[in-house]
Amino acid sequence: MASNISPAAFDKEQIFGMAEKEMEYRVELFNKMTQTCFKKCVDNRYKESELNMGENSCIDRCVSKYWHVTNLVGQLLGSGRSPM
């Protein structure tokens, strides 16, 4: 199979594969962040349909912290340090 693909076509396949994986990762990151911050910040008694001031502040801070945790864990994993 590999012999049928020219080097240029192979590179293109790899690039498309990487692009797809990158997009999937970003979508998944956004979804996890959204669900996590909703769970942590929004009162689940739903007394009204608007987000109140406290919830809005919490959401902003939650997103920022989640982002920093993502980067921090990425650094730790990337540094070759063992999970323990």
Binding site: K12, F16, A19, E20, M23, E24, V27, F30, N31, M33, T34, Q35, C37, F38, C41, V42, N44, Y46, K47, E48, S49, E50, L51, E55, N56, I59, D60, R61, V63, S64, W67
Partner: protein
């Protein structure tokens, strides 16, 4: 899906542009369905506790509507903040 991904498509040859667009569309559809399912699960779990009736009661329906509306507003806000972080904007504590 953020639109910045779509902007990069213009520099591609037509066939590759087509392929990338299909990929993004599929991802978008999958993402929407997943969000729909998880929102149903979340709002059902938060709003429905008793089963004396098989039809949704008034206060349950009100709760579900508020839950869904709040989540959509929440998701929009997270999206804005997420975009800011991706652009490397500094944020206050």
């Amino acid at each position: 899906m953020d639109k910045s991904m779509l902007a990069d498509l213009d520099s591609l040859p037509e066939a590759d542009k087509q392929r990338m667009t299909v990929m993004i569309d599929q991802l978008q559809i999958r993402d929407s369905l997943r969000m729909y399912n998880s929102l149903v699960e979340r709002c059902f779990n938060d709003c429905v506790d008793t089963f004396k009736h098989k039809s949704l009661q008034k206060q349950e329906e009100t709760c579900v509507r508020r839950c869904a509306e709040k989540f959509l507003k929440h998701s929009m806000r997270v999206g804005m903040r997420f975009a800011e972080l991706n652009q490397g904007a500094a944020t206050q504590d």
